[in-house]
């Protein structure tokens, strides 16, 4: 809208400036003519009042002429033998003291005592032109001033008018999940914006209500599932501990227990994600990135060393993580680094680094592992989706958990990978506002 008014104004200005010389010329000519006619009236009146003798005082003199020093105006009266009456204005050249000067001249014939006279009043084209220039300049300056003032006032006004809209956009941008939407009313005299804000509030309420319903269902299903799992587990463990069962039966029971573990692990993961997404965890711990990454690496180190994989750490002590949940972040980094260990062949290397640039802090975990295809990367963080060539044991939901923990902390995860060339996970921390 602002853009449109700006453009239309510009077009108007350009057209006006292009037409300006013509307009001014017209106006000026018209003005000059009025002046000339006015002067003619004055001269005629003078002649009527005081007689022609004022100008032509004897019969031997046939004309009267007067011009000012700069030769830009003159008046001339002379006897003439004209038959018809003259009353017109034209532009002609006159020679005054040997100089050819262009004049705009009013010619007027009149009769006194039976004698025809011709009155000429002239104004030099140059003086007309210079008046034109002055007018042009004044108009241009005013025009520019006018344009600037209107644009500035328009901008200020539209900004003031659109302030509530910008506020709403800002609120939407900073909203990671519907329940986090700032529901405060927007101060505006424009009813439309107030209504927009109200509608958004209602929408967010609806969405978060359906979200929390879904999460509640997940939590309830999980409880219902965990109780039977619990019963089967206890029964199997009791059989296993009896000790008098056949060795092959014992192995089968252990296998059943492992399967049961997978089941409860899945249910627990579902439960965990539902809890994270409904913000049931607190974020009130502060610690350094080095601290938590060292803890994670230490935990994984025995398994990595067993595979002859080295974990190199380049951690800055000044990278502080604020308002976070330590055990959730621990799980996130654990899942990622553990995933790297699983996907890296014997003798490989995992690099854990912290990078800080201005306001942005990053943690980068890269490995020399087998990497991933583009298709695999696309489904990397999705839940319960089977991934081709995934040989890792466990439920494969670890990365989905990592993603929901990252979202909960407003951390952005980026993955770079190519088959055979390793993977790189980068975690960007934004200042919590």
């Amino acid at each position: 809208m602002t853009f449109f008014s700006l453009i239309s104004r510009l077009i108007f200005t350009v057209v006006f400036i292009l037409l300006l010389p013509k307009i001014i010329e017209r106006v000026n000519t018209y003005q000059t003519d009025i002046e000339l006619i006015h002067q003619r009236e004055k001269v005629i009146k003078l002649i009527e009042d005081k007689g022609l003798e004022q100008f032509i005082y004897s019969d031997s003199v046939s004309s009267f002429g007067s011009y000012n020093i700069l030769k830009n105006e003159f008046i001339n009266i002379e006897k003439t033998n004209l038959k018809n009456t003259w009353n017109f204005i034209e532009v002609t050249d006159r020679i005054i003291e040997g100089e050819i000067i262009k004049f705009r001249i009013l010619s007027y014939s009149f009769k006194v005592h039976g004698q025809n006279y011709l009155l000429e009043i002239g104004k030099s084209a140059e003086s007309i032109k210079s008046a034109e220039e002055t007018t042009k300049k004044v108009i241009l300056v005013f025009l520019i001033l006018f344009i600037c003032i209107t644009i500035a006032s328009d901008l200020l006004y539209t900004r003031h008018l659109l302030r509530p809209l910008n506020l709403i956009i800002k609120k939407l941008k900073s909203t990671a999940s519907p329940e986090m939407f700032d529901k405060s009313p927007v101060n505006s005299s424009t009813a439309d914006f107030v209504r927009l804000n109200q509608t958004l509030n209602e929408l967010m309420d609806k969405i978060s209500a359906s979200f929390s319903r879904e999460k509640e269902i997940t939590v309830n299903i999980s409880h219902e599932l965990l109780t039977p799992v619990s019963i089967i587990r206890s029964k199997l463990e009791n059989i296993l501990m009896n000790g008098n069962t056949d060795e092959n039966v014992q192995i089968k029971i252990e296998e059943s227990l492992t399967t049961l573990t997978r089941l409860s692990s899945l249910v627990n993961s579902m439960l965990l994600i539902a809890r994270i997404e409904s913000s049931q965890y607190l974020k009130e711990e502060t610690f350094t990135a080095a601290e938590i990454l060292n803890d994670v690496c230490d935990e994984i180190l025995p398994v990595a060393e067993n595979k002859k994989i080295s974990i190199r750490r380049e951690l800055s002590g000044s990278f502080i993580i604020e308002t976070a949940n330590r055990s959730l972040l621990f799980s996130m980094f654990f899942n990622i680094i553990n995933n790297s260990v699983k996907n890296t062949a014997k003798g490989g290397e995992i690099l854990v680094t912290t990078v800080s640039e201005n306001d942005i802090s990053r943690i980068i975990i890269s490995d020399t592992g087998r990497g991933m295809s583009r298709e695999k990367m696309e489904t990397l963080f999705s839940r319960f989706r089977s991934r081709q060539g995934d040989e890792s044991d466990g439920t494969g939901i670890g990365l989905a958990i990592a993603k929901s923990i990252a979202d909960f902390h407003n951390i952005k995860i980026d993955v770079k990978s190519e088959p055979g060339k390793g993977s790189e996970f980068s975690f960007t921390f934004f200042k919590n506002s």
Binding site: S230, I231, K235, E254, L257, T261, S264
Partner: protein, 227 residues
């Protein structure tokens, strides 16, 4: 020791009771909150295993009632909800420990024993296995006077096996005991194998640790026969 099992799932209550009986506990079960509340008021228990999700009663109320009437039994709360706030609330109301369903029976036993040690203030006892001493208070392993260099996790693992001597523990049971409160699916049988391998290597520098057995297809055991 007397244990009251408060659990509305009869089948689960029976399994727990059958397991604890073998460990020489005297067990009673209460399938409803009302039943539990009456039994706690009348009888004296050393331990109460309390499921928070009862149909007729809020589990926390039973806990509160018990503590308010001066009951000093060791109380372990059990829930399938696994929510952090349940754990915090339970402990604040006077529970001694917290277990999330599904738990290993062995883990339950270990928790009961830990609470008992804490309650009855058992001083440092050393567990003797094949020339090594496990110092349960300081969490060290000594060979004679020498301390075996061992990580905290490795110590936890070996002590858990030692407390359950002659029982086969599955990898998952061991894993759960050591990394029990973790919030992910990192169960990885490889973790336990690597740790056992490291423990064996570290112990072997002092004396052969043949008593730490691998039970094919099932898990690990500390065997008294080879002690």
């Amino acid at each position: 020791m007397n244990v009251l099992i408060v659990e509305d799932e009869r089948s689960l209550a029976e399994e727990i009771a059958s397991f604890l009986k073998k460990e020489n506990f005297l067990c009673e079960t209460a399938l409803t909150g009302t039943d539990a509340s009456e039994k706690i008021a009348v009888n004296l228990y050393d331990f109460i295993l309390l499921d928070l999700g009862l149909p007729d009663y809020n589990g926390f109320d039973i806990l509160k009632e018990a503590r308010e009437s001066g009951n000093e039994a060791g109380i372990i709360v059990v829930t399938a909800r696994g929510a952090v706030e349940d754990k915090v609330k339970g402990l604040n109301l006077g529970a001694d420990d917290y277990l999330a369903k599904p738990f290993a029976l062995i883990e339950l036993l270990s928790r009961i024993q830990a609470v008992a040690r804490r309650k009855f203030q058992v001083n440092e006892q050393a567990i003797h296995i094949g020339g090594f001493q496990l110092m349960t208070q300081s969490r060290k392993i000594l060979f004679g006077e020498e301390e075996v260099e061992i990580t905290r996790k490795e110590y936890e693992l070996i002590q858990y096996l030692a407390f359950n001597r002659d029982k086969v523990l599955t990898r998952h049971q061991l894993y759960e005991h050591i990394w029990g409160n973790v919030l992910d699916d990192r169960y990885d049988s490889n973790f336990i194998d690597v740790h056992v391998k490291n423990i064996r290597r570290k112990l072997a520098a002092y004396a052969p640790a043949t008593w730490l057995e691998t039970v094919r297809g099932i898990g690990y055991r500390i065997s008294s026969d080879k002690d």
